[in-house]
Symmetry: D2
Subunit: 274 residues, 4 copies
């Protein structure tokens, strides 16, 4: 592994290489970082039992191993749909039971941690909260794995040091997620920084996944960037899938429908890794 | 005022022009947005009673009208100095009483709001928390003014909509603070976006101030950018001052000592505005 | 002056401080860098004798001291209007004679230098050509001053070293022009980097001006940013003015009409500098 | 193929889909865009016959099919090594003859086109000259293929429209090269924008290759990003190789030595594409 220049104290936990081993994160019965790439899929927001259930069955059939679905949504405007909250968590629990897929959902606040942790298998920290240090510290004391998204203006070093807040608190089960940095190009929502992702993986012992949905904001680029992320060494992917993207309450432009997701999963079989 | 393109619901409170009036924010007895620019000054972190007291006396004598000082510090690394916490709040209270200067300090978490609000006159939301929506919502219910810093990757629209979370909660006393966007130039810590600041002021009825200390990261550029911000219409400035910047526990490179701050305050007298 | 870190050989001419003196650049009878800020104004493109002549009279009456006007236009698309070429140069010559205003126009290629230099008083290198080293070298051998625009992705160091190519060739009459760096905010065409401008002025002995028209892309922000640039120490401004901006063949959104330019010139009288 | 929003005239040649066919570019006997990815390799600068000859033999043995080598080097500072010029061109010619590898080298100026075109098989336009329209127009009249690098602040649309200048001049043999956009992260020289590369390929009929050497600036990331580029659909790669990178006159940090290049070529065999 390469070395990272840190100005003051060294990030002991990240750089200690975990005794020379890469960390494997366990989400329910699924292992991220154990060699085989793991695909997480599902809708941006949980909208109804029917929507989530149908999506879960479809992505499971196509090979996804973890279900995603937002209950509490961080939205730029307070007037946009903010998620179904507790109702969504209950739907997630039910669909988890019915399909056997472990689930991941975002937590926006220290107040929600306990409730979300009761219903899901992995707690996501969104890009806007990457340096919400109060939230990160509290997640250091939780017994559930954490999915830490990179902020769109964060350096790789800042991202790793954000993870360090969780590790320093005692929770070593952290997966890093590259989801695109701020882009100046109006044709792209973000710039998926796969070199930054590869560097983060090289500098730490944590698993790293990519989010080509937010990373590009364009449905038509998801297959190319999914393949690229795996070829660059990603331990997994997180992809937005919706029964009818045109009617999605959020992020429809970057969601795949069921047939497109199935085709994507097939083409990824041919990507050799490392 | 110009118009802002918003995708879905209109930002009712910001765009309603407050009945055609610009908002004046009251911090103790000081008014921000009433015409005369207000300078907020003080150390990045409260380090001791002696440090804060000496700084407060010096900046007051030079013309500053509000004192700043960090009690809870958001730091990139968990191993860096994190602020004195409650002890710092008590020092801020004491110095406020002795000097008559109202004080502003950052709040990192919903858990701290009550305690910080007891000790200070204005609650700062840092750049990393600009889209910490749980924090913003809670601040909507507080009876203290809020200083909302712009995130270094936020558009002007995203910044205004973050303010909207506070306003929508019922607290209309919000001051916006431009503190620099992410820069690719290693000679500068950030790029102070004065056009973005002027646009935010134009698109809303809220007062807007500039932070040339974080905005440049270089002591030698603070005078030029302070003058420029006022000439561009800023309602005020927030500037880091320390008795001995070389020994500061944080942000020493961008802090002024007392004589440099005095000189700066004098040169700003000649900047005509609007 | 501050110091600039250069990896290999030092930029001798820039850092030698010109024997401790700041350079004054003479454009016809006008001095840039001699203390009094100089305003350059005119249309993006020369469209006709009538358009240029009317604009020249108007900007002169309002206090501008140099006329700008594009003959060869660098356009993103080969299918856009590319400028009137030689015809525009002849119009510039004629209007220069009639008004007594010296003129500046862009040179796109080493092939055009001789012809453009015959007709104008100052040769502009556009932002896209900031590192067109063949062009810069050739301009080092010309006996006309050069206006060197900063590339929207250039660091201050790269910009100064581009100027160094001209100086090293023997032409010390270079004015630097900050015109905005690439922005991710769709509300702004570029981010006018006034701290970068102030830093360039601090690190070199060359005059530095600002271009608030390209720097913001919005007519409504030009007054605030013109005032800010002067307050930050700019030696001048370059501003796009057109008789009827709505009908301009290029850059209409960021051009002022005559009355708006007159008002701007008046408000700038109140900006104290340094 | 997707659609690109262009404000005024449509980029007729790019969007016409070439009669529904993707363009194949012929460099000597090598075809780029015909299906099999093509690797271009060699030193940043031609330093001597021995250096180039040894490198050419090594990269050919490893599977590279085109040789790169700089004769005229665009350097940020005029005091840095500027390339061997004509001497380098003659070395390139000689090594081309001895190895049978076609060669590509950069052209910095319209003045050099004829001379460079006599000695090499493909003319490279560097990132700094992407919008040097005089150069692009002249290359439209040359009977050699052009390798057009993306400027580090260019949108995909601006990049395609720069290619359009060459095509509109009558030369349809253009290969696009993504080489990284400006990064704010000090750990990376640039951000290799593979989604931008994939989008450029989707919006045009031209072949597109990636430059992981400049795109990351770090030797240790070249393998991951080479694999990723191919998985994202790149028609080829251009990679810097030097007999002894620590002694290279330019870009040593991002050059591979011979064994590292051989290993890279082997691992790329396993990357499935499309």
């Amino acid at each position: 592994m390469a070395t990272l220049t840190v100005d003051k104290a060294p990030p002991a936990l990240l750089s200690s290489l975990n005794g020379g081993e890469r960390t494997v994160v366990r989400v329910g019965s699924v292992e991220i970082g154990a060699g085989d790439p793991v695909v997480i899929a599902g809708p941006c927001s949980v909208e109804s039992y029917e929507q989530l259930s149908a999506t879960a069955e479809a992505v499971k059939a196509a090979g996804a191993r973890i279900l995603r679905g937002g209950a509490y949504k961080p939205r730029t405007s307070p007037y946009d749909f903010q998620g179904l909250g507790l109702e969504a968590l209950e739907i997630l629990s039910q669909v988890r039971e019915e399909t056997g897929l472990p689930v991941v959902s975002e937590v926006l606040s220290t107040d929600d941690i306990e409730l979300v942790a009761e219903h899901v298998d992995m707690l996501q920290v969104g890009a806007r909260n990457m340096q919400n240090f109060a939230l990160l510290r509290r997640l250091g004391q939780v017994r559930k794995p954490v999915l830490l998204k990179r902020n769109p203006a964060a350096t790789v070093k800042e991202w790793l040091l954000a993870a360090e807040y969780v590790l320093a608190g005692g929770n070593g089960q952290v997966v890093l997620c590259e989801r695109g940095i701020r882009s100046y190009d109006p044709e792209l929502r973000n710039t998926l920084d796969l070199a930054g992702m590869a560097l983060a993986r090289q500098l730490s012992h944590l698993p790293v996944i990519a989010d080509p949905s937010h990373g590009t904001g364009r449905r038509d680029l998801i297959p190319a960037m999914s393949r690229a992320a795996l070829a660059a060494g990603a331990d997994g992917l997180i992809i937005e899938v919706h029964p009818d993207p045109a009617k999605a309450l959020s992020d429809g432009m970057q969601s795949l429908n069921f047939p497109a997701f199935s085709r994507l999963m097939e083409t990824m079989q041919t990507v050799g890794r490392r």
